[in-house]
Symmetry: C2
Subunit: 439 residues, 2 copies
C-alpha cells in the first residue's frame, strides 16, 4: 500500500481525553475514532490489526475443533426470559423496541441464542461433543465507558459454546479451550496467565480469566511468578489428553481480586508471590445445565433423554488491540508483534523525486509484495525526521530505509522497530532477507 | 472438514414459511436459522458462503482503490439531525435510547458518519480523491420482513463513500465503482444489469441499481436485451479511463419501475425489449454536496475552501446469497458457482468401515486439502442415496464418489453438480484433475 493512497490520519498532539497509553497511541496513530461514548470507528490501520487478531483467533479455534457461525447482534427479549436473565442483567443490557413494540436487545453475549439453536437442531448424543463459536459485535451499556477500546460499549467478542453429555466430557471441552487460549495469546506475543475467576452474570462454578499483566490493568491479580513465563503448549500438543496442561497451571496459585484468598496466597514461596494489575483478555466458563435445563436443551442418549452440559468461552477481540499496545510500546510509539502488525515492512523513501531512490523503492515494493509481505510504502513529501517519527509511532516491525547517499554505494538501511537496531547493507541482501522471512 | 465434525443441520421437509426458492433452500441446507422476524443466525454452511462473497467484494474494492475501515453499528441521533435525515427516515430506522437517555439508532446506512470522519481528518484537496468502505451489519425495520435474507431487517451491507473536489472528479469515482460492481457480480457468476434508478432516501440525481433478473424479483424492470449478456470489463481494464464502460451500458435503455419511461422504452427495437422482474444486489449514487454542505465537509483547495462532492455505493452482501441461489439452482438443490461455493469438493465415502474405501478417502482428503481445496468429507453412516441427495442439495460444485466396486478396479466417480455429468476414471487421474484446478 502506498501511503499516498492509504488513509492514515495521524494526530500530532496527544489527545487529552486518553488516560492510558494504548488509548492515546490508537488515537494518535489514526487507528480509531470515537463516534459516541465507548463507540469507535476503526480506521484502516486499526481495522487491519483487528483482522489480523481475528484471523489468529479463527485459526486456533479451528485447531481446537470449534466450528464458526455467526449470530445476529439483536435478540428477542423473550429468549432471555427463558433463562431468567432478562430481568437480572441490569442496565448494561441495551433494551430496544422495534416498530411493532416487540421487546428486543443488543446482545451482550449469546448463551441463550446458541442454546436455542442447539435445541432446535441437535437431537442425538452421537452429535456431541459440539463446539460452536462466532465473532460478532456486542453491546454493553457501561455506566462509564473509558480507556478507548479496553472498556468500550460496542465491542468485538469471540464467544464459543460447548455442548457435552456430562460433566466429565464438558471438562475435556473446557481443557481444549483452555489450551487454545494459551496458544492464541502466545501467538500475539502476549503472556496470558489463567486465573481462577468469578463467574458473574454468566454463572457456573468453574471459570478462568486469562490475564495480561500491565500497570494500567483495571483489576488487581495475584499469582505464582512461574506462571508468567510458562510457555504455551503449542499446536502439536496431544489434543485428546489435555488434563496435564490444565493441571500444570492450576496447581499454582493464580486468582483475580474477587477470588483471592490471602491465606492460600501466603503459602506461595515469598520470592514467587506476584501481586500486580492485570487486563482480562479472555474468560472461560463451565456452567453445566444452567441454560440447558430451563431452556430444555436435551438430546436422546442411549438410555433416554440427556440434558446437555455447557460451557462458554470469550475472547475480547477489540480489547486485545489495547492490551497488546499496553504490553508492547515505547516512548516513540507502538511496537507491534509481527503476527498482528498492520504491515510487515515500512518502506521509507528519503527523497521521493530522486530517480535512483524512486527506482529502488519501486523495485523493493514489488519484490516484497510478490513475496507476500504487506508493505506500507511511505512515498510522501515529508522530511526524513517526520517519516521516521511517524513510522516509529505506528510500530511496523521492519523499516527499510532508502536514501540517496547509501544508494550511491548500493546500500540501504534496515531498522528493527523493537530493538532499534539498524544495519546498513547491500540493497539486494536486505531484500533477500526480508523476502525470505516467513509470513 | 469431516461431516462428522461439522455442524450441518439439514431439514428433511420443506419449511412452510418460505415463499421463494432461495429462502426454502437456505433453510433446508441448514445455512440460516431465523431468530426473530427478518433476523437470522448464519449457520456454518451459510457463514462460509457469506465469507466467500465478502472476500470477492473486498478484492474488487481494493482493485478499484477503495480503502477498508469499519464503522460501528450504533450511531448518534444528533449526527443524523445534522443532515436532516433523522426525522425524514421514518419507521424503518430503529431508534434506541441508552441508559443515559441519549438518542441513538442502529445504522441503516452511513453517509452521515463517514462525512463526520472525513471532515474530522482530511484537510487538503491533495488528499483527494478518497474512497472509503466498510462491510458491516445494518438494520432497517421493515414493516413486513420476508423472503429470508432477501428482505431481512438485520443485513450485511458493503457501503463505500467517495470524496472528490468537483463533479467531474466525482463522476470518475462513480465510474470506478460502476466498473468494480460489474466485475464483482460477474465473479459470482451473476449477470447484473445496471439500471437507472430512483435515489430514494439517499438523495442525489444520478443513481444506478445493479439488477439480477429473476422471476421472484421484487420489482419490475425494463431493459435492452443486449445488456444482459454484455461481458464485464474485467480486472485489466484501464482504470484511469472508464467513461466508455459507463457509456457503452448507459446508452442502452435500462430502468427500474420508478424510473421507467414507456415512450423511451418503445424506441428500443421490439425484439430487444426485455420486460422482466429483478433483484437489486447493488445501488450506487452520486449526490454532490447533499451531505457535505450541511455537515461542512470541506478541504483547503488551491484557491480557498472546497465543499467536497460525494457518492455512495452499496452492495447487499447477505442478500447476494439469496440472489445467487435464485439464479442458480435446480429441483435437487443449490448449484453454487465455484467462486462462492462453501466447499470446493464433496468427498463421498459410499461405504465407511470398508478398509479400501476409508483408505482411499483419507488419501484423497489429505491430497485435496494439501492442494488448498476446501473439502467436505461425507464420512457419515447414511445410505448412498441419502448422501447423494444431501450433497446435491447443498450444491458443492464437484462430488468425488468413492465406492467398493469402482475401487476394486482402481476407479472412482467424479460428478459435476452443475451439469450432472459423471465420469468414472482411475483414482489418481481424478485426484490430479481436482488438485490441478486453480483455486
Amino acid at each position: 500500500m502506498r501511503l499516498s493512497r492509504f488513509f492514515l490520519p495521524l494526530l500530532k498532539e496527544n489527545p487529552s481525553e486518553a488516560q492510558i497509553v494504548s488509548h492515546r497511541l490508537m488515537l494518535r496513530c489514526g487507528m480509531i475514532r470515537q463516534e459516541a461514548a465507548g463507540i469507535y470507528a476503526w480506521l484502516p490501520l486499526g481495522f487491519k490489526v483487528l483482522k489480523k487478531i481475528e484471523k489468529i483467533v479463527e485459526e486456533e479455534m479451528a485447531r481446537a475443533g470449534s466450528i464458526q457461525l455467526l449470530m445476529p447482534t439483536l435478540q428477542l427479549a423473550d429468549l432471555w426470559r427463558e433463562s431468567g436473565r432478562y430481568e437480572d442483567y441490569g442496565q448494561e443490557m441495551l433494551r430496544i423496541k422495534d416498530r411493532h413494540e416487540r421487546e428486543m436487545l443488543y446482545g451482550p453475549t449469546n448463551e441463550e441464542m446458541i442454546t436455542e439453536i442447539f435445541r432446535g437442531t441437535v437431537k442425538s448424543y452421537k452429535d456431541l461433543p459440539l463446539n460452536l463459536y462466532h465473532i460478532q459485535w456486542k453491546f454493553r451499556d457501561e455506566q462509564r465507558p473509558r480507556f478507548g477500546v479496553m472498556r468500550g460499549r460496542e465491542f468485538l467478542m469471540k464467544d464459543a459454546y460447548s455442548f457435552d453429555v456430562d460433566e466429565a466430557a464438558a471438562r475435556r471441552s473446557y481443557n481444549r479451550m483452555f489450551t487454545a487460549y494459551l496458544n492464541t495469546f502466545a501467538r500475539m506475543g502476549l503472556k496470558a496467565v489463567p486465573m481462577r475467576a468469578d463467574t458473574g452474570p454468566i454463572g457456573g462454578d468453574l471459570s478462568h480469566e486469562f490475564i495480561i499483566l500491565a500497570d494500567t490493568g483495571e483489576s488487581a491479580v495475584f499469582c505464582h511468578k512461574d506462571l508468567v513465563d510458562m510457555p504455551a503448549p503449542g499446536p502439536d500438543v496431544d489434543w485428546e489428553n489435555l488434563q496435564h496442561v490444565f493441571d500444570e497451571r492450576t496447581s499454582l496459585y493464580a486468582a483475580t481480586e474477587e477470588m483471592h484468598n490471602p491465606d492460600d496466597f501466603a503459602k506461595v514461596p515469598a520470592d514467587k508471590q506476584l501481586s500486580a494489575r492485570g487486563i482480562e483478555v479472555g474468560h472461560i466458563f463451565y456452567f453445566g445445565e444452567k441454560y440447558s435445563k430451563p431452556m430444555r436443551a436435551v438430546v436422546n442418549g442411549p438410555d433416554g433423554e440427556i440434558t446437555v452440559h455447557m460451557g462458554s468461552y470469550g475472547i475480547g477481540v477489540s480489547r486485545l488491540l489495547g492490551a497488546i499496545i499496553e504490553a508492547s510500546h515505547d516512548d516513540n510509539g507502538i511496537i507491534w508483534p509481527e503476527s498482528v502488525a498492520p504491515f510487515d515492512v515500512a518502506l521509507i523513501n528519503l527523497r521521493p523525486g530522486d530517480e535512483a531512490c524512486d527506482a529502488a523503492c519501486e523495485k523493493a515494493y514489488k519484490a516484497l509484495n510478490d513475496a507476500g509481505r504487506d508493505v506500507l510504502y511511505n512515498d510522501s513529501d515529508e522530511r526524513p525526521g517526520a517519516k521516521f517519527a511517524s513510522m516509529d509511532l505506528i510500530g511496523i516491525p521492519w523499516q527499510l530505509i532508502v536514501g540517496p547517499k547509501g544508494l550511491a554505494e548500493g546500500n540501504v538501511e534496515l531498522k528493527n522497530r523493537a530493538t532499534g537496531e539498524r544495519q546498513t547493507a547491500p540493497f539486494d541482501d536486505v531484500l533477500a532477507q526480508l523476502t525470505a522471512k516467513k509470513v
